[in-house]
């Protein structure tokens, strides 16, 4: 095992998030009486190639935690260190660039662009990375991934012409196309029926293994959580268990 494998890909220390009652994020002063504490002092370490499920009842702070881990939101206190880099010491734009380089996303509501075909949706993250010949490379990579999720025949279809399961498979292909070190999934099966969910989960884990990606997902789905190596249970913004 080499050095980089021992180092956690994601290290979380004392992560807290509080918002004022009107919804604005509050700063370090988490003792503010008017503040609503969504997350409180979360600590966590995730190794490369590991899979972690974040579970908990509605309102426990799962999605907020995911947003903070991915650098989509800023915490009131604490640190998130991604591959050795303290995310919140970076500017918003540098964080975005870091996301583009290292993180992939799968969302509950798929978040496919309606005016793009399946293929174009998958190509988009690569197109955003300025490469010499993004067009051809991006297309090849996107076609290959769509093939892997079984959508070769549907790649020129628009999201509105695809079923929920197919849309989520497109989203999975899009998440893997940049070969991210870390994949965040927010309720990836939340909008799908049981059978389709199973199919989508299979694709996600197959790609995860094949590409040695670290997987962090938020879910209500016990079946899905059970397939992860570790499960973190949140309750009222605190880590209840981490198995």
């Amino acid at each position: 095992m080499n050095e980089s494998l021992k180092q956690p890909v994601l290290l979380v220390e004392g992560l807290s998030k509080a918002v004022s009652r009107v919804g604005d994020s509050v700063g370090d002063n988490t003792g503010d009486e008017n503040a609503l504490h969504i997350l409180d002092d979360i600590g966590l370490s995730i190794q490369r190639g590991e899979s972690l499920a974040i579970v908990g009842p509605s309102g426990a702070g799962k999605s907020t935690l995911l947003g903070l881990l991915a650098g989509l939101d800023v915490p009131s206190a604490g640190k998130v260190i991604l591959d050795g880099e303290d995310m919140f010491s970076l500017s918003e734009d540098d964080r975005a660039a870091l996301r583009g380089e290292k993180i992939g996303f799968v969302f509950q509501s798929f978040q496919l662009l309606p005016s793009f075909t399946a293929l174009e949706n998958v190509m988009l993250p690569l197109e955003l990375q300025e490469r010499a010949e993004p067009g051809r490379d991006a297309r090849r990579a996107a076609e290959q991934l769509l093939g892997q999720v079984g959508l070769t025949a549907r790649m020129h279809h628009y999201p509105s012409q695809l079923s929920g399961g197919e849309q989520q498979r497109v989203a999975i292909a899009r998440a893997f196309v940049t070969q991210p070190a870390l994949l965040f999934a927010d309720e990836p099966t939340g909008n799908l029926d049981a059978r389709t969910s199973q199919q989508v989960i299979d694709f996600m884990f197959a790609l995860n293994h094949e590409r040695d990606t670290t997987l962090v997902l938020v879910t209500h789905d016990h079946q899905l959580a059970a397939r992860c190596e570790r499960v973190l249970t949140l309750q009222d913004g605190r880590v209840q268990t981490l198995q």
Binding site: S63, L66, G67, A70, G71, L72, D73, E85, L90, S91, E92, D93, D94, A96, A97, L98, R99, G100, E101, F105, F107, Q111, L113, P114, S115, F116, E120, L124, P125, E127, L128, Q129, E130, R131, P134, G135, Y158, S160, T178, D186
Partner: protein, 853 residues
């Protein structure tokens, strides 16, 4: 790790922007935005191309338009000295004389614009003739031979004559040897009341057409080297007498220039209204586009795009879109200008050259200004969309933003600069541009106010009615009106947009007709319709006798002395003293003086007293009040005139109002009998010639070939035709305004489309029938259009009334059709367009819509 996000304005960025633009285009997201830019550019460039072609004709072909490089124009014979000076300098010279006179063929007589030319005419440009009317024309260096004339095809037709026939021209009989199809120094139809007859100068004296009191333009044409021309101009300037002027390349054809300037200003400003509306459509469409891209931007941020990158993406997209739409708009404008050329072209200049590239440049600037100024600001706001939106909904209003960014401010500035620049460009000067811009904005604000008041009032009224009559049931009316008032500002905007377009169409389509008709009806049926001028003193008795023998006893002959005003109260007057072009013209040229002992029925003393039979009144004058006002003449002023080289002075003892449209012979300045004795005089009369009595004129002209008969009916007919064509041209430009109104509506409908989809899906899921929903949409759009129609009728009526009172000084008869036509046209037109625009709302299955949400 700093600099990780620094992205350059790279080729890759451009490629990605264009690719995303292409995808949005394919998905139909850009149609209204694109159409609005195309429309704005088409409108501006069509007017631009058209006026540019006329300006080009004036600039490139000035020599041709003058028939020379330089010309001296006068209303009296020019001194031979001028010719000699030019010849001594080695310049080429030619002379022409132009005047109107009657021409007779076998049994018919017609007024013609006669031009008699010397052998070297024209010095610039070439004549074109044809052997027969409508036969193939050819260039010619020749001129009509002595004893021959060339005539317009129209004159041939009017006289029912053919090539080879003889015409009576004054006392001479001249043979028609060719049809004249083109003459370089002739302006458009608007400036000529009669067709052309070209003859040689050598035939002129024998015709006896030029006599005392004849209205003749004398031209000395000069051509040659620029240096020598400049020298000649320098030499001639101090020698010029009153009524003489030198015209060069830059000051040629003032009448054509004025017409061009008016066309440019009026049509240009009409196009600005369409551009303003198109910009509103652009802004509305861009807001929706931005709203629909919130998720895209959140996702892009999620995938690692920096804020700068997002701004770049939309900036490049805007630029590309505006260039593309701009080019298409220019092409559309070029096609559309052909319409203006057909309607107006030959009124101003006979032959138009190819346009320059300037209007295309202006079109592109409009495209860029419209897009950057009105679409970019909401798009730039997208850079502030938080990436967190991918997990949680954040509405557009809640996007943090940092107030107005510098880039957005710059973008707004671009838009404002484009509009101001455009108005100034169309007006041709800064101050006038500012005044006109303020005028247009004030008019639009007034329209906005009325539209807003109507929208508000009708909404409240109908809400009360629908509530009372339907007792809580959701009525079709209620549904429709709720939509109409969902965004009252957008509704007001649409009422205003359609209101402007419809108003102009009503004004030009109905009110113009009403006004002309009312005016025509006000004239008595037997108002004089013929003027006879050029009657010489020796013919006075025999002409009078002629009329008496025809049973026309009431025909009076009035003496007419041509004089030029040279001084008021001993101070010399010059055209430069006056700003008013009419005043300048009145001072520059001779006008008609007359004498009378009795005041005519259509004259009224407004100040001072009429001399009556007062024998001592020989040094008094009575001046028409309009002339007095224009030239600043007051009661008691002493006026000095130059008449046939001599000076005549008298004091103003009364000011008169004259009812000019009585069509009787009237004069600016009247003197008591005897005061003008000894000066050269000719006589004028006017009379009513019943239809079918043209024979009488032929007999009159056979007996007195030097007389000039002016056919008022024909002139009125021509004026009516010109008004009709100018109106059509203005309507043509305002069609763009209507189209812009439709685009504003399309953009407004689009901006509510998502909500409409949702509501209709819910209503249909709850059991509402499609027919009912369609009816509610109809209520919405028909009310909108009807409101716009009423606003349009209100303004058209008001403007019509204003024109009637201020310009025509008569009562405007209220036309109920105006309101009905406005209401129906607005209701039907907008109703239909609205239903078309929302048909997809009714046609999408509710389940598909609900699933999408």
């Amino acid at each position: 790790m700093t600099g990780r996000s620094s992205t350059s304005f790279s080729f890759a960025a451009i490629r990605l922007s264009l690719r995303m633009l292409g995808r949005d285009w394919r998905a139909g997201e850009l149609r209204v935005l694109f159409a609005a830019i195309v429309l704005a550019v088409s409108c501006v460039s069509s007017v631009g191309f058209f006026t540019d072609r006329i300006a080009q004709a004036l600039m490139q072909q000035t020599g041709e338009l003058l028939g020379a490089d330089l010309r001296v124009v006068a209303d009296h014979p020019l001194p031979v000295e001028y010719d000699q000076k030019a010849e001594r300098l080695g310049l080429h010279v030619a002379q022409t004389r132009s005047f109107r006179s009657m021409i007779q063929a076998a049994d018919t007589a017609r007024l013609a614009e006669i031009k008699a030319v010397s052998a070297s005419y024209p010095l610039r440009g070439v004549l074109r003739i044809a052997p027969q009317p409508f036969a193939r024309e050819r260039l010619t260096q020749a001129l009509p031979a002595v004893g021959e004339v060339w005539v317009d095809p129209q004159l041939l037709q009017a006289l029912d004559a053919k090539v080879g026939d003889y015409l009576q021209v004054g006392f001479s009989r001249l043979r028609i040897s060719a049809v004249l199809t083109y003459e370089p120094d002739r302006s458009g139809n608007m400036f000529s009341i009669a067709p052309r007859l070209l003859m040689t100068l050598a035939d002129l004296p024998a015709s006896g057409l030029i006599q005392e009191g004849s209205h003749v333009r004398y031209h000395l044409l000069v051509a040659g080297e620029a240096k020598k021309l400049a020298r000649l101009r320098r030499d001639l300037t101090p020698l010029l007498q009153r009524g003489e002027r030198v015209e060069g390349a830059s000051d040629a054809r003032p009448e054509v220039r004025v017409a061009l300037q008016r066309a440019q200003q009026f049509l240009g400003l009409a196009s600005v209204v369409a551009v303003l509306l198109a910009c509103v459509a652009i802004a509305l469409a861009a807001r929706r586009y931005a709203r629909r891209h919130l998720d895209t931007c959140a996702l892009l941020r999620c995938f690692g795009a920096s804020q700068r990158r997002i701004s770049q993406l939309f900036f490049i997209q805007s630029l590309a879109l505006s260039l593309l739409a701009g080019l298409l708009g220019i092409a559309g404008g070029f096609l559309a200008q052909q319409g203006l050329v057909v309607l107006l072209g030959d009124l101003i200049v006979r032959q138009l050259p190819w346009p320059s590239w300037t209007p295309a440049g202006v079109g592109l600037l409009v495209a860029l200004g419209g897009m950057l100024g009105f679409a970019l600001p909401p798009l730039l706001q997208l850079r502030d969309v938080p990436a967190l939106r991918v997990l949680r909904r954040v509405p557009m209003q809640a996007i943090p933003g940092r107030g107005l960014q510098a880039a957005a401010l710059l973008a707004y500035f671009c838009g404002a600069a484009m509009i101001v620049g455009l108005v100034v460009h169309q007006a041709g000067e800064l101050v006038l541009g500012g005044i006109l811009l303020a005028g247009v904005l004030m008019a639009l604000m007034l329209l906005w106010g009325v539209a807003a008041g109507f929208t508000f009032g009708l909404h409240n009224l109908l809400r009360v009615v629908s509530r009372r009559s339907l007792r809580g049931r959701v009525s079709v009316w209620h549904l429709g009106l709720v939509n109409l008032t969902r965004n009252r500002r957008a509704t007001t905007l649409q009422v205003m947009a359609f209101g402007v377009g419809l108003m102009v169409l009503l004004l030009l389509g109905i009110v113009r007709g009403d006004l002309l008709q009312t005016w025509a009806q006000r004239l008595p049926a037997d108002a004089p319709n013929r003027f006879v001028t050029n009657i010489q003193p020796a013919q006075l008795l025999s002409v009078q006798d002629f009329f008496t023998r025809q049973g026309m006893t009431g025909v009076s002959l009035f003496p007419m002395v041509r004089g030029r005003l040279t001084a008021i109260n001993g101070t010399a007057v010059s055209p430069q003293q006056f700003d008013n072009p009419r005043a300048q013209g009145l001072v520059r040229r001779e006008f008609n003086l007359s004498w009378a002992d009795r005041l005519q029925a259509d004259n009224r003393i407004v100040q001072g007293r009429w001399w009556g039979k007062d024998a001592g009144a020989i040094h008094e004058l009575s001046v028409e009040e309009g002339l007095a006002k224009t030239l600043g003449i007051a009661l008691g002023d002493r006026l000095t005139f130059r008449i046939a080289g001599e000076t005549f002075s008298a004091t103003v003892s009364s000011l008169r109002s004259v009812q000019w449209d009585s069509f009787r012979a009237n004069f600016f300045v009247l003197a008591p009998p005897g005061a003008l004795d000894g000066y050269p005089v000719s006589y004028i009369t006017s009379f009513f010639l019943p239809q079918g009595k043209a024979e009488l004129l032929n007999r009159l002209l056979k007996a007195f070939p030097n007389l000039t008969v002016i056919d008022i009916d024909a002139i009125m007919q021509q004026v009516r035709q010109i008004i009709a064509r100018v109106s059509l041209a203005v309507e043509f430009v305002f069609l763009f305004t209507l189209a812009a109104g439709l685009l504003v509506m399309a953009a407004a409908i689009q901006s509510t489309l998502d909500v409409r989809h949702h509501e209709n899906a819910v209503l249909r899921a709850l059991g509402a029938r499609r027919r009912r929903l369609r009816q509610s949409l109809m209520v919405e759009f028909v009310s909108l259009g009807a409101l716009a129609g009423v606003v349009a009728a209100l303004f058209a009526n008001g403007l019509g009334e204003m024109v009637a009172r201020q310009v025509l000084e008569m009562e405007y008869v209220f036309n109920p059709w105006l309101w009905l036509v406005g209401l129906l046209a607005g209701g039907l037109g907008v109703g239909l367009a609205g239903l078309l625009g929302t048909r997809q709302v009714l046609n999408s299955p509710p389940l598909a819509v609900l699933r999408r949400l």
